[in-house]
Assembly symmetry: C2
Homo-oligomer: 343 residues x 2
Amino acid sequence: MATGREIAQLCGVSVATVSRVFNQPETVNEETRERVLRVARELGYQPNESARALSTKQSTMIGLVWDTDHRRPGWRHPYLQDLLIGLKSALSVHGYHLLMLATSGDAREVGASLADPVGYVNMTRRHHLGGLVLIDSGSDAEAFEAFAQSGVPCVALDVAVDGPRATYVTSDNAGGARAATRHLTGLGHTRIATITGPPGNQPSRARVAGYRDALREAGLPPRDEYVVAGDFYRTSGTVAMQRLLALNEPPTAVFAASDEMAVGALLAARAAGLRVPDDLAIVGFDDIEIASVVDPALTTVAQDKPGFGVAAAKAIMAMITGAGREDPVILPTRLVVRDSCGA
Amino acid sequence: MATGREIAQLCGVSVATVSRVFNQPETVNEETRERVLRVARELGYQPNESARALSTKQSTMIGLVWDTDHRRPGWRHPYLQDLLIGLKSALSVHGYHLLMLATSGDAREVGASLADPVGYVNMTRRHHLGGLVLIDSGSDAEAFEAFAQSGVPCVALDVAVDGPRATYVTSDNAGGARAATRHLTGLGHTRIATITGPPGNQPSRARVAGYRDALREAGLPPRDEYVVAGDFYRTSGTVAMQRLLALNEPPTAVFAASDEMAVGALLAARAAGLRVPDDLAIVGFDDIEIASVVDPALTTVAQDKPGFGVAAAKAIMAMITGAGREDPVILPTRLVVRDSCGA
DNA sequence: CGTTTCACCGTAAGCGGTTACATCATCGTA
DNA sequence: TACGATGATGTAACCGCTTACGGTGAAACG
């Protein structure tokens, strides 16, 4: 590994000049600059990031806080890969890398879990991270708030947070739910139910609100028995659907707040001898991969999955350089019409 | 941020002693050790990882090389999330973190892509990474070989590599394929076809070999027209299936080398008016999520997805500490019988 | 011709740890 | 009593880079 010192010696300049060539090129004479650059190239010079970080007190890494909630072992993020693709590519534009923070192995007192953000914030300081990206892993929003209040730049995904240098990005959940429900009312349905996410979940609440909006628009009275809670999981969709089908006046259409639950509902409907979409119309949310392979293919509200990552990266970078707080980002959604509503 | 020096002053010892408390605790007197520890805790001391890395020439991070091959924009890893879960948790046991390396933004000459591993290896040196984990992203194995030869400890997933400090982990692809095909012969099928992955792909070749083994065991003659190549994508499965159905003597059973292609084949069969499993039996490979939601649910060969990550982490750590080369890891597979074979 | 300005560059002090080596007291032993 | 062994700690160099500050020479100015 060639060092700056070696380059300096070979070029007959000081290490300071070498450093300046890379950090403030305009302050060094063009001739010597090119000489340094050439030698650096020949030597395959790679600046030592540790030394640089030590000196400047900041690294070119941002941390990813992604804890699978241990209270829900089977939890999977619906579209982690797309999110990471967006995040990674947007960060790379600025020369930043993504550090997937690990909870300390011997979780004695470090206790780095989402429920106790201290460990993560400590890691942030240790590594001089530029900021944190917080992925909603189904746990409570309180932990997110603690992150946001810690002072480190952070952007949360799908959880509204507020803090001195914190912001969040989320989909237009209400709008998406409205579009989904409108699609149903537009098809003539009047008995439209919804299967929601966990009560505390913010996107879930927004989706319920959008659902209610669309009913109101269509002049349909809200019915409490048509709103049943799930947890985004597939089986909860099945259970919810069974409950709905047991009603005196079962719905003819269902808006599920996740594709997983929509599939669960579809299974329940099929088990009950109902044909989809003829006897029951179903709309989902997310547009994950399975939406297009189930039979019938699921009509659903698509989220801009890589867009989450890109927006998060932009927000983080803006907070790092700008040092201020950023406005939340609301990503547009898009209704994808397939076969589960008979449209 | 408290530093070691502050602790030293408060404790009336030197910074060397503070450092020793954390790195060679046994060499420092118990009394002073506890004093240092207590003060460190009170001050919320977090060691500066940049300084430590600069001094020791090694960080507590290992790099993840995961490039979505740009020649295949839509490419997705079939089970990235599970893999990451395993990787992350296994690394955290050793106090290591995962750095998702980004290709340099201005890809002038740095050219950090899988096709040109130089950029990644440079990043490895810059950050003093302990090693690299290479995720197969569908690109050619040559690039992997270049990584393996670079001298940095690295473990490849699903690509057999050889190098001074390189190894790999993969599934028992042949065994899995054998089990899948045996399942088919066991059900009485004699006309069994296979849809393979890309010709150059190693797991794909092993699966073909396993398929052939099982045919031989059952005394069935191999038929070239029953082996048609796909690319692991869904649509290639559809195309391949159409080709198979056009044969004079179409197969009554198909082993697809990926679940995605199995689904594609299923779609083609359905479009051709065939009933699955009655007219055609299908087995897949991977056991990804969609396998259980398609209709009929897919019988498939399950891979130990988190196991990939865990094994990779173990191998990397072994190479970091042991400094030698490690044996490749072959993960067991498991046949998951569902409904697509009528078993 | 003296003085100011400015572009360019070197000097050196950090940044916060790690560790080889020296120091020193203590203790067992010849 | 002298001496080597041992355990505990301090000293100081070093890791490679950044940057405030000062110095130099040439050009511009009065």
